[in-house]
């Protein structure tokens, strides 16, 4: 088995679990904090045989919004952490000021640690992308507050930009631009 696939599987398990757990936790929080009446059913109609439902549209909307917001928040925090860490470690090699700042902030381990790879940032971004798409689709279907969909889209754009920029900087060190040495 290739090292890459093994690394991907190893890295993907935690964000996959966290995505489900944060959605469930968001629902539990919504139900307990807002004191909503939640029901469960086992209709064997589609792919899934377990459904969560509420008796009115208002409660469904609130619970869905709350759980989606909670999931996006948790996923965004982790994804931003790994993507920023990757971006900083990519730029540190080219910019001594970055290293000085990292030393001042006692974050030098971000650059020296072996676990600051592209794969981790990439996997988290993929899961954040999936979460965001679900929330954006839900917002477009007016099943979630629009502001949550917009916020997740903006965070997604920033994450993807940082990831791509970090990857560009990394690849420039392997394949330098032709005009650098001209």
């Amino acid at each position: 088995m290739s090292q890459l696939i093994r690394r991907l599987i190893k890295t993907a398990i935690f964000p996959a679990a966290l995505m489900i757990v944060s959605k469930v936790a968001g629902l539990i929080l919504a139900v307990s904090i807002l004191n909503l009446n939640v029901y469960f059913a086992n209709d064997i109609n589609g792919i899934f045989s377990f459904q969560i439902y509420f008796l009115n549209e208002g409660e469904t909307f609130i619970a869905n919004s709350f759980s989606n917001a909670f999931m996006i928040l948790v996923m965004a925090v982790f994804t931003m952490y790994f993507v920023i860490r990757y971006y900083v470690s990519s730029t540190a090699g080219k910019n001594p000021r970055t290293i000085v700042k990292l030393v001042k902030l006692n974050l030098l381990s971000w650059v020296t640690s072996k676990s600051n790879g592209f794969i981790r940032a990439f996997v988290w971004t993929i899961f954040f992308l999936a979460s965001s798409l679900i929330v954006i689709a839900s917002s477009l279907n007016t099943a979630t507050f629009a502001i949550i969909g917009i916020a997740s889209f903006l965070v997604l754009v920033v994450n993807v930009w940082l990831l791509i920029r970090g990857f560009e900087i990394d690849s420039e060190s392997i394949y330098p631009k032709e005009n650098i040495y001209a």
Binding site: Y39, A41, N45, F48, L55, I134
Partner: protein
């Protein structure tokens, strides 16, 4: 393990590893797709509460149903085949939305909503039952909650507990004998060993029979 054995193991693993690679890719795809499917499935929806736990309706939709549903708080008495069922009504902290439906001349459906509650036993009188005939009659009780988790469902008649559903989901049917001209009260009781954080509906079928 000797050096030669280690080499052999390495050689074998190098030969076998490529065969497992497609499975690893499938595992990777599953890891990526499961949370997406789960989150979509966990998105709540709006629905009426008349959903059967097995996804199969418990009502025969082909048969004509006389929908004679009445709010139990009304004083209206029911008189069929010698048995008189009178809804008691009233309010209860955890038993709400009580309703009685006549399914046919000898079958009735009692339904109610059990609100989320702490672990304990709760009960409420639901029906006054009177055998107006001069012959003994039986009433067959069977019932269940919508979600068969944790809640023990009991009908109490003549100070005897008749368990309709055990907390593990096992359901029972009971025939309760009513002597000629006997009058009694049926209580609905439910019991949970742990706190229940959600509401659940309960349905009890009551069938009148002539005692053998």
């Amino acid at each position: 393990m000797g050096i030669n054995e280690k080499r052999n193991v390495k050689k074998v693993s190098k030969t076998v590893a490529p065969f497992f690679e497609p499975f690893a890719v499938v595992i990777l795809l599953i890891i990526f797709s499961i949370p997406i499917a789960a989150v979509i499935n966990l998105s709540p929806e709006t629905r009426n509460q008349d959903t059967n736990v097995l996804g199969v309706t418990s009502e025969n939709k082909q048969a004509p149903i006389i929908d004679d549903s009445t709010d139990i708080t009304s004083e209206q008495a029911r008189l069929y085949e010698g048995i008189k069922l009178t809804a008691i009504g009233g309010t209860h902290r955890y038993i709400t939305s009580e309703k009685i439906q006549e399914m046919d001349t000898q079958t009735y459906k009692y339904s109610a909503m059990l609100l989320k509650h702490d672990s304990s036993r709760y009960s409420k009188p639901i029906l006054d039952i009177e055998n107006l005939s001069d012959t003994p009659r039986t009433l067959q009780f069977s019932g269940t909650t919508e979600t068969t988790g944790n809640t023990k469902l009991i009908v109490r008649v003549n100070n005897i507990d008749y368990v309709l559903q055990e907390s593990d989901g096992t359901i029972f049917t009971h025939n309760i004998l009513l002597e000629a001209n006997q009058m009694t009260t049926a209580f609905l009781a439910f019991q949970s060993d742990t706190d229940v954080q959600y509401n659940e509906s309960v349905t009890i079928a009551i069938i009148e029979q002539i005692a053998e």
